[in-house]
Amino acid sequence: MKSSLQRILLSHLFLTILFALLLITANYFDFEPIVYSIASLFIIINIYYRYIIAKGLSSINSITKELANRAPNHLEPVSIKSYPSEIKPVVNELNRLLARLKEGFEREKRFAADAAHELRTPLAALKVQAQVALNTHDVAEKDAALEKLITSVNRGTHIVQQLLTMSKLFPDVIKQSDLEDIDLAKIAREVLAVHAPHALEKKIQLELDACHQTMHFKGNPTTINILINNLIDNAIRYCQENNEIFVRTYEKKKSVILEVRDTGPGIPKALRSRVFERFFRVLGNKSQGSGLGLSIVKQICELHNGKVTLKAPKKGTGVIISVFFPCDF
């Protein structure tokens, strides 16, 4: 398929030959000198045009060659030497894409390194527990060690699952095709139903107060399910016996809001801003979280152009987390 530049070149070539012929025939038929000058001028201009176009094409060629010779992990911008302004926008956009790709790859690398680091301690527990089981001949002691080993495996599994969830959230834009009308109360009800038995076991009261949703917002139901799941899971994990967890959905000022309020031990003020960081755990409590729950919540929230806040209640202890979903998303 011929490009437009090549077409111009060909047509100019054709016209140039035409005028050259005209010049020759003009010579034969003794035309006015002015015809000679015009024809010559035309031919010179054409040659000049061909030179410019050829130069433009060659710079495209050199960019093409540079890109073709790149190693797959070379994501540095294409260098801007001299090329025509028509190509500049393309090269600029290409460089921006490369920059985004590079940032994406680096984030994945960091994530993988963080994940590996996080798994070291659970794996260490596994190894030591296995060796403890091997080092004893007492059957009761062996069994106790093996049971703890299974607990450790469960913890490691939980961490791995959270890691996978996080990694899937990485292309941080939801495709239009994955967006649906969200009935927040319905998803909340489903998630709470799943967690109710566990809450009951831990003697934690779990309640939902869902208002009828009049405002519409578009979102991705799968990720919103994961968001609510992580909030409830977190609350149950860190609450103790006889604590309460109240979940509420309501509307306010162009947002649909999900609120999860618990009467558990709460989070110290100094640490409240840090709990959304990846792998951050409020150390010193006994539960075996992955440190990723709230950062997953934050990520999904941002995917929906929303925001999430964390406060302490005015009276008593506990945590109030509110997720705001804007209705114009």
């Binding site: 070291r120 301690t121 260490a124 527990a125 190894k127 030591v128 060690a145 703890k148 913890r155």
Partner: protein, 219 residues
Amino acid sequence: MRLLLVEDDELLGDAIKIGLSQFGYVVDWIKDGETARFVTKTESFELIILDLGLPKLSGLQILKHLRSSGDRTPVIILTARESVESRIEGLDTGADDYMVKPFDLSELNARIRALIRRSQGRADTTFTYRNVTIDPAAHSVMVNNEIINVPRREFALLQKLLENSGIVLSREQLMQSVYGWDEDVDSNVLEVHIHNLRKKLNANYIRTIRGVGYMVEKE
């Protein structure tokens, strides 16, 4: 042998405590940095196993405080940070050894033995007093080159006494090196152990200092 374990992870800390107890150590387990710093000031341990990522006060900070106050207890760092820079930092801050998680429990045990040996100024892995030779690695006791059976606690007690020959050790010190804080024991269990040791080893060199404690005569 009384060890201090500073590790905030529940599952791992529990596993290490049980694992090292199986080898005959008394392990006191602290889960946060501040308590650890307090405890190292008020109690004495043969060795400290220190995790770096701790709540309230980091492992490195504890180590700094320890060394700057002149404490020479051997320290093994146990951590998930495996980069060379971290290792260098840990060792230069005053640690004697650096192990990365996950690790082998038996290897940890061997390194503990090596550091305790060194801190007692010994290079020999077995310890001999008169006609008794104890081998901490094998947990064996030989009297006149014959192996005799000594249960775990008595071994710990014997080791402590022999390594401190010529020094009076109080009942409290001896109890602490054989039983952990959370172990509920009869008050006369120490006397029972001493009695058994004296009988088995024909050890009239284990002296009772009434009202104070026990001592092994200097060689």
